[in-house]
Structures are given as structure tokens and as C-alpha cells.
Symmetry: D2
Subunit: 368 residues, 4 copies
Amino acid sequence: MSGSIYGKNFTISTWGESHGEGYGVVVDGCPAGLPIDESQIQAYLKRRKPGQTKFSTPRKEDDKVRILSGVFEGKTTGTPISLIVFNENQRSSDYSEIASYYRPGHADYTYDMKYGFRDYRGGGRSSGRETISRVAAGAIAAAILRELGISVYAYTKSIGPITIDYKNCRKEYSLTNPLSMPDPEASKKAEEYIQEKQEENDSVGGVIECIVTGMPPGIGEPVFDKLDAALAKAVMSIGAVKGVEIGDGFLAATHTGSENNDPFAYDENKKLIKLTNHAGGILGGISDGSEIILRAAIKPTASIGRPQTTANKFNENIEVQIIGRHDPIIVPRAVVVVESMVAITLVDYLFQGMTSKMDNIKKIYNKN
Amino acid sequence: MSGSIYGKNFTISTWGESHGEGYGVVVDGCPAGLPIDESQIQAYLKRRKPGQTKFSTPRKEDDKVRILSGVFEGKTTGTPISLIVFNENQRSSDYSEIASYYRPGHADYTYDMKYGFRDYRGGGRSSGRETISRVAAGAIAAAILRELGISVYAYTKSIGPITIDYKNCRKEYSLTNPLSMPDPEASKKAEEYIQEKQEENDSVGGVIECIVTGMPPGIGEPVFDKLDAALAKAVMSIGAVKGVEIGDGFLAATHTGSENNDPFAYDENKKLIKLTNHAGGILGGISDGSEIILRAAIKPTASIGRPQTTANKFNENIEVQIIGRHDPIIVPRAVVVVESMVAITLVDYLFQGMTSKMDNIKKIYNKN
Amino acid sequence: MSGSIYGKNFTISTWGESHGEGYGVVVDGCPAGLPIDESQIQAYLKRRKPGQTKFSTPRKEDDKVRILSGVFEGKTTGTPISLIVFNENQRSSDYSEIASYYRPGHADYTYDMKYGFRDYRGGGRSSGRETISRVAAGAIAAAILRELGISVYAYTKSIGPITIDYKNCRKEYSLTNPLSMPDPEASKKAEEYIQEKQEENDSVGGVIECIVTGMPPGIGEPVFDKLDAALAKAVMSIGAVKGVEIGDGFLAATHTGSENNDPFAYDENKKLIKLTNHAGGILGGISDGSEIILRAAIKPTASIGRPQTTANKFNENIEVQIIGRHDPIIVPRAVVVVESMVAITLVDYLFQGMTSKMDNIKKIYNKN
Amino acid sequence: MSGSIYGKNFTISTWGESHGEGYGVVVDGCPAGLPIDESQIQAYLKRRKPGQTKFSTPRKEDDKVRILSGVFEGKTTGTPISLIVFNENQRSSDYSEIASYYRPGHADYTYDMKYGFRDYRGGGRSSGRETISRVAAGAIAAAILRELGISVYAYTKSIGPITIDYKNCRKEYSLTNPLSMPDPEASKKAEEYIQEKQEENDSVGGVIECIVTGMPPGIGEPVFDKLDAALAKAVMSIGAVKGVEIGDGFLAATHTGSENNDPFAYDENKKLIKLTNHAGGILGGISDGSEIILRAAIKPTASIGRPQTTANKFNENIEVQIIGRHDPIIVPRAVVVVESMVAITLVDYLFQGMTSKMDNIKKIYNKN
């Protein structure tokens, strides 16, 4: 049951359907004294907004966020922060037909099996618009991380066969590039690739990479709640993600120990560093102080214009053609969703990590 | 904090260090009336036992399990099941030297950062022996699944460059093949590959694939607690796992929608099936009734015999050579650990799924 | 941290402050297929509404509830139900003065200690209006219980020195009696008592009793999650509650075993019953099939008109007089809050109890 | 399901039955660096040990505790601490008869209803011996509190009609007085009262009071996770507890606001105090820095020697006489159990409270 609540000490509780009244999130466990306002959250939501480029659905969605509680005189009070985005411009008539059949690659069938019936309008709860709640909460998590000198940066690493490398990223393009692919040349090729597939009424997938800098060492829990395990769940819970890897990931499986081990060393300032980072910043489930590196595989958009065969509720095999306004690629708009889920998870783990040492507890409670 | 407890309605709580008194697990939430005995659990533990082949450490560990509570007259009582395996044959002297430096690829440094100090003997809590607790609990989860007609099967899919395919697997070899690689020819090549690297004082990695059959559709929770997200966390929480993918996984990122979508259809018996299974048995985070397919990337063993550079606690960069009894590959012994974590997660989700429909609740509680 | 989320399998997440935008609750884990509409929830909210009698604050609060998600075509979908009540008629100016001092009996000081600062307007999150969220969720829980033949009934058992007995209750007065005290004679005396104290600018307390009928035996968890323990927490979490007891409660401490034990017996229909119910329907933390009986002690309203001494933030001891619109008694409006918390807790426990027996699990999942 | 795990950030997971192999607890979330050894835990267990006075069962139970994990070189490592007490001297033959009928006041019937069958030997999981696990964990919690200057003290406040007052307590008698009633005169009367009832083959109940001193203000969570709500659950989860109250408790329900409100004031040292403490140290669910005062009503022992009527499993009403070794009163041995549950809860809440303010988080993580 449930399943729409995430986090232990920094907890978000989300709600909403694509053709209901709107989307929202309640953030419980945000510490008091964090400066926050609607514009910060709006800036985050803008990054996942549709209708901004030729590769995203032309639906106009303003996605205007309102803070309903938990903020007083510009600062968080420590009590739950309720954020709401009312739906606009939803045309339910578009979806009346799909009520009777199961779209390939969608959750229509599985929701029916689980719940017995479903809100079929635009995917209901399984719509990609559900990520509005995640991103709104992600903006708050990012604000907390900023206070601690931690930054989370995600970008489109690959689209179909076109791949870029982090060390060649030109981050100044991150927010303006329509594909969130901060390499103008590769991005241009990717645009052509998408356009080609779009003309074939098809869609494409890709890979998002996320880099965390400034992470203190020692964050993460042993055994089941390893930091990488938590990040894997966080990112895999995003609708279209089919795989997650940390550091060298699947490549590590083909390497030898001598290739994969990262030597520790003191640098010229006698600071302990790792000379390489195949591990992706996490050892034994605990951050090691180097960059956390994570990649997520995003499947191609399931809604495609070309005819497909499928089954309906009346025991018939049919051919369907999905008409509507759909992105030919999910990747660029999912970049900020990955950032959000990573940020929320890191905050939760930083909070949990505060009680790892008796010394820390004394630091907070011993007055003398 | 914590981090050694897993599951919501079927909960396991583990403890133990490689050179402490032993390992154990408390299983809370196992339903009453399940037949279980120590031999079933022992059979599972046997599969992760070292010293069975030339590719696993020659340490002799009997790993004899005892049931201390929760079972009465051969059946579970519904109250916590405590399982314990006492350590034997641990030679602490082997490890005294490593107390002062950070082994590359190990959790020595991160545990020190998190806790301020650590039990350095054999990795303490970060030792691979920690999986004893997981496997003991996994045996109970598997017994529950068996009652529901669900089976979980994992195998070594690849070792270094040698890869096998599920449809060519000869499952009859699964338990006897020293590499858990049920393809005699490939297994032989893999043995040669390992031996070669072992002679170079190096280690190798690989990929484990896990297939769940008999899974009912409709299991999984929307949004954060998607079944694939939970499985990703479960499997990524195993020490050496660096990546997890479902169905086509990272390959899906390079496919188009028309390639990746699985058409629904009624078969000749009017049963609804999927004609392909790129999704790996999960749509929108909920099982679709087809096989669940999951792969985990396992890094090469971090403990290797060849000299490595690293840092010690005295601000020095040093060269070290790790002497000891270490597997040149983790993969074969991790197969049953993957199975266990998948089984435990499925049980937890089957339990959670019981309240998805008002009809189910009435089925249990309405007497008339 | 957090603290505004309640329940494990039936989870409610609440938010709101008395002078913020409004109050709300997200109900996660409600099964699909439950008929629900706004009028059912409104009927519950009406019972805690102020301004209905001379003994409640003359503030006009419409407390109009809206369902924002989770309901489709009149039935729950199984996904989160978001309920919202926008605030109206809040006059912040009333409260500007109290920002600087700590009202006796209120949470001003403790919120300041915990969070460093607080939303001082009308108590912020600590306002009694917070219970709007609980009651809205309680209406949904009560609807689920109704489907299972379980009813939760609470009433004002005592006000100051005036006490009534359950077996003399005339339930037909429950909803219309201004004190929720379904004994017209006692209620009249209580009104006089309240009026007397109100004229002295003082306030009064009382006791609420809650009776659950139709509860199936076997619900509750052993050890920490005993049903009575959960109910105690649920009810003690209501702002003004200072004590909770089950069955004979504190009286049982003065009895002997032979007085307190309830004999089991088969009645004429060979149904197993208890001949007495000192235990209050719960044995060993698990429901025994008889009525669950619970009482809550409610303290007198902390906001009183007479002058009081207290401290301010400037290190001064001062005399204050709290002006404003305050109920002279909390008890009658808290009756539906107690019912709500009990109902929510019972639903959560009924859901948890579904997996106690392997037989139940097979009943849901075994198709043959 | 489950139900044997307690706590969020400081989590204990317990197991064991009275006639199984033993009892144990896994403490997960204990910070690293706490000095602890078996003797500290043994000292706590000694306080609940039977066979020490004429008023407790003459069973000899050594209850020798062993630390199996989580402690290295005399200090906690931050990983799970597994504690075990093996059962000795359990005579199963004593209990064979009770398998077929339901003892009044016991959980036999409700366990059967919940689980379908039960370990009937000595109450199985519902035995009072289950508290061994709680007390072992309580010793660790108390050690943490001690480091923070917080102490938890409980005592027998009343036995049947004999009541003592905290301000007359002579604490020096606490550990030696056979009834944990630190008032030699009252204790003597209570002994006579118990003896009288015991000769009538009957049993008696009483009240335990618990006082927490040194508690910092600001601990507790708003709304559902109020500190008093958590304490109520913690204490009500102890087998024989039928009621819990905080501060004036049920008496507060009969008081007026002017009597019940505690004025704040600065003392001569300009320290903010409360002039009275009717609230019992908690306001709005958050500690106010004064003593936390809690009382628990303990029912009389259910096992009594005199003949009782009850029902068996064969649809018969029968008369039974419970033979065996039973305490005529639970109260004295439950004192340390109350202390333990309060201590465990306080530690969990102190840990949760560390993230209430952004300032605290910076204090731990900002290096500059």
C-alpha cells in the first residue's frame, strides 16, 4: 500500500493525477530557518515544463507553484511545507478512447490489475506529470544542500547513439540547451536524430548522468541502507528509468581488481584523496568525499504515433494509434527530476548521518 | 543511523561482524503456519559458503545455522524468527596490520569517516560475510514464495568477457557448477580466465541475472515504491554491486519506442500476455505477470595480491600488499545473495499489495 | 524531525497552520474501490466546527473541504487522496502581541526551543485547528470500517465533576447535544458548570470515552505495536490529552486478579464471548472481539481571560491577559477527533493484520 | 505484521519466547564511541530478575547476557548490537495442559485468533519474560542519556490502596527495596497487603511513576509524534499496562485552566523555568525543560491460583485452576521495564530532534 511517501527523516508525501485538480507535495522534516520562497521552486519547475522546445509536447502548462504552509516571514518553520500546482489546460476528451485498451509500454494494464480500475485520463497517477511533486520538493532539498556546500548537477549524457563526456561538458549551456546536453555540437546531432525518429512517428531514449560535488565523506548507512542503494531506488522510481549505475557501473564488471581499485593518497596539502574514482564516490555504501557519479538509463517515450497492436478489455487483439501531444524523448525534461531525487536522498542521508558518532550528539546537546 | 533493517511488512534485522561472535538475522512479519526447518536454511547458506571450489577462499566456514525463536512444532508462529550462525575459524591476527591503512576498494576509510573508528578485523561489518544474514532470511522468503507458486532463479551471466544467455542455460548445472554459470562450455572458459587473472594476483568481476517466474500481475506501488525501484535498492545494497538494470536496461536507452514497447495480446487460451518482454516484467512500477528480469553488475574483488599504493592514518602514502585468503571473484557466491534480496523484497511487496483493493480486505474480514 | 505523518500501511500526512493558507491531509494507502464524496467528509468536519454553540468560539469557520486527488467517478483509485480546507476569517492582528511572550499552557516556548523561532499567529502548527486534517482523514477511515461492520463511537463522558455512564447514554442526542454528552440531564448540569467557570474567565476539562463495536478478534501486533499501545499514542497525540486508559484503566491498578480477569465462555449460540470486559477488548495487545473501550483525559483550555503571570523573550516576568475568541472547554469538539484517530489506527491495524496467517495470503494470491 | 521492532533512528528489534532458546534484541542506530560492557546490561537485567524476593516467582533465572556484535575494544562501533540471553530452567511440562483452554486475562485466545495457533508454553511470545529484550536495550539507552546528563528514574508509586509520593521518596532504597517502593513504611504495608491477597490465591496491581530529569527543552515532534504520545505508546506496550498519564493526567480533566496552567518565570539566575509542573514537562508534545512525569497503571497478575471459569477449544465452559510459579504482583519487576522504554524513546527523540534547526545541521557538517 501507499508508495507515494519517500524519505525517513526528510520525508515527502506526494499526490495528484494528470487530469485531476493538480499536483502537490508535503515536505515533512525540513529544518527551521531555511530561507525559501516560491520563485526558487518555480525555477526548478520551469526546467521540467513542457512546451519549451520543439521536442516537448506543445501543451501549455504554467505549473505555477504555491507554498501553502511551513514558511513564515521567508523562512521555513520546521513544520510541514505544503506545495501545490493546480492543473490547467487538461483536455480529458483526448483520453476517453484509451479507457478501454492497454497501451503498450504504459501502466494501464498493471494499474487495472492492482486496483481493479483506474483513472484513465492521461495516465492518471502514472503520468509523467507526477514528477512535478518531486521537483518542487527537490528545490527545497537543493536549497538545504547549498547551505552545506553540496551541489547536484545532472545532464543528458546520451541520446540514442550520441554520447558526450562529462569532462567536455560546457555547463554554461546546461539551462539553455533544449536537450540539457551541454555540448553544442553533440546536441545538434542529437536534435537531428530525434527529428528523424519523430518523423517516423517513433521516439528515442538516452542516459542521464548526475554528479554530486562537495559531499562530505562518511555519509551512508551500512548494509541495506547504503547510499548507493538509496540513490538507485530514488532514481529507478522515476517513471521511465530502466537501469542505474554508480561510478564505472556495468563496465566495472568487465574490469579486474587492479583496474577498478582507486588508490588513496595524500595530496600536496596533506588532504586524503582518491587518485581515481571508478567507485563513483561511494565505498561500502558510504560517501568517500570524492564526486558521486550516477547514471540512469531512460527508455524511449512509450506513446508513439505509429500504429501498434495491443489488447483491449473485451478480450480482443486490436490495432491502435495513439494520437496526442507527446514528447519524442523524455530525457531532457527528466534531468531535473534526477537531480531532485538525488538531492532529496542526500538530505535524508545527511540527516540520518548526524547520529553516527556519540561526539556529534554531544556537540548538539551538551551545553557546557 | 541504523541501516541494518530491511523491509516494511516483512522485516529483517541483521547483525554481525566477520571477526565477532557470529552473524544473525531477526525476521519479523513472517506469517504463522509456514513449515520451516533449519535444513532449508542450511541449504541456502551452503550456496554462499566459501571453500567449496578453487575459486573461493580456502577458509573453512561451517556456517551452521540455528533457529532460536518463532518456530514451534515445525511451523512459524507469526512472531520474530531469530537465526544465528556463530563464527568459527576466524584468525584475527591476519588483520592486525591493516588497522593502520586504508585498503583501496574497501570501506576502511569511509567507516572511519562515518564512525570515527572501526572494527578493522576482516572488514568488520563491511565484510562479505554479512550476507550470511541475508541468505538465511532469503531462505524463509523463498519458502513463502514457493507456497504462492513464485520462483526466483539467479545465475552468473558473465565473468569478465565471457557471457551466457538465459535461453541457453542448463539449469540442471546451477547448483553444481563451481561458477553458478549453467553453461558448461562457457563456464570452462570463465575458469581459465579467472585462473589467468589469479596468477597475475588480480581479480575479476561479472554480471548476475535474476529471473522471477510465476509473479502475479498487480504487485508494486506507484511513484516512489515502484517494484523495480525496490529491487534496485535491494540488489544495490549487496556489497560489490555497482549497477542494476531491469529488462533491457541500459540497452533500452539506445532503442526507439517502437522497438522497446511490448505489445499486449490474448493468447489462444484468451489469457492476456505480452508478446515481448523488453520491460522485464514491470510496467509503471507494478508487475505485469510476465517474467521479472534483473541484472546486477558485480565489481572485481577489491582484495588483490599484487602491490598497491594507498594512504595510511599517519599522513603517509605507502605501498601495500594484501596477504590473505580472498576469492578472485565474488560473482558465484553472490548469486544466492541476489536471489535472497529479490525474494525478500517480493514477499514484502506481496504483503503490501494485499490491501490495494477494498475487495481483498472484505475477503479477509467479512465473515458473511 | 517530521512528526506530521501517521500510520504504516494506511498513512496520513498533514499540514497547515491556523493563520496560513489552510489545512490539508494526504491519505496514502486507501484501497481502491471505496465510495467516497466530499459530503461524507464535510459531515465529519461539521462536528468539530467552532461557532455552533455558546461554548465554542464565535469565529465563523466554514471549513469547506475539497478532494483534490485519488477519487475518480465516485470511488477511491488506490492512489493518494489529497484533502484541503482553505482558511478563512483569520485575523492575524489579534495575535501580534503574543509573539513576544510565552503563554502558560501553550506550546509557544517549546516551539521556540525546538525550532529557534515560530509562526506565532494563533499558535501556528500547534493550534487546535490542526485537527481539521485528522478529522478529514478520519471520515475516510470510518467509511472503510463501515464496510467491515465496525463502528467507532465517542462521547463526552465527563466535564469537570459531572460524569455520565455509557450504559445510560442516549445516543440519539449525540450529534445534536452541544456538549456531545448524550444524557440531557447531565448535559444541562455541565452547561451550568461551564457557564459558571466562563464567567470567572476560567476554563474546564473533561473525559472522552470511545467505544468500538464490531471489531474482529485477532487484530493487533505483539510486543511494541500492541493495539492498545497504538491507540494510546493516537489519542495522546491530540493536543490537550493528558492521559489515556483502556478498559478499567487506572482502576485496574487497585483491583485484584480475581476482580480484573474476564472469564471466557460460550454463549447459547456456542459463540465464544467474555462474560465481563475489564480488559476493554484487548488482551496481549490484540483485539478479543468484545468492545474496545478507551478513555482520554482532556485538560482545560489553556487560553483563559483572567490575568496570568508569565515570562517574555526579553528576560522579564510579566502579567498578561489573553484576549480573543476561545472555547471555555475543548472536550465536545474533540470527540470527533478521538473517533478519527481511533478509526485511522484501526484501519492501519486491520491492514497490517491481513498477513498474520499464511492462509490469508494464499486466499488473496492463490488463484486455484 | 511485525510489531517487535521499535524506534525510528534508534531502533530495537526483539525476539524470543519463554520456552524457546532464549531472548534477544538487536539495537540498530546506536552511535559509535559509547563505552559499554556486559556488566552494565547485566545490572539492568538484575532489576527485573525473578526469584529475588518472596513476592516474585521462585524460578531461578540467571538471565546472563552476552554481547554478540557491535562493540569493539569496549566501545560501540555504530553497527548493530546484538544481545542474547539464553533460557534456562524452563519446564515445559508445566504448561502442557493450558494448550487446550484460554486463561482469563491472558493472550491465549487472541494469539489463536490472530495466528491460527500458538506456542502455548508459558505464554510463548506474550510472556512477561519478553521484557528481557527491552531491559537489555534500555541499559544501552540509559548509557547514552547519561552522557547527555539525562536520568530516568521509576518507582512503585502505589500497590493496591497504598500510595506514596515522589517528594517523600527515599531513593537510596530504590534498588534494595523488594517492591521498588522507596518508602520503608509504605513498603511494609504494601508487603502485608500483597501477602493477604496471595493467601487468598489472588493478585494485586499498582501504579509506577517515572521521572526524567535533565531533559533539554525542545525535544518532541509536533502533531502525531508528540513526545508524550510516543511515551504513552512505549509504556502502554508493556504487557500489563492499562493506562498512561502525563503530569496531572486524569486529574487535569477535573481542573480549571487557571489551576492547570503552569506560569513561566525567570528565576534569580535569569533562567526560564515553570513555577509549577502540572503539564509534566511536555507542552504541545515538546519537552519544556522541566521534569517529565509519567504514570502507568499496572493490572494485577492474570495468573492466579484460585479456581476460575473459562472456555476451552472444544466448545466447553470449564473450571480451571492455574498451578505454577507466578508473581502475586507485576509492579516491582516492571519498574525497570518502564525506565527502559522511556529511555529508549527519549534517545530516539533526541536523535530525531538533531535536525530541527538548520543551525544544528551546519554545526555538524560545516567545517569552516
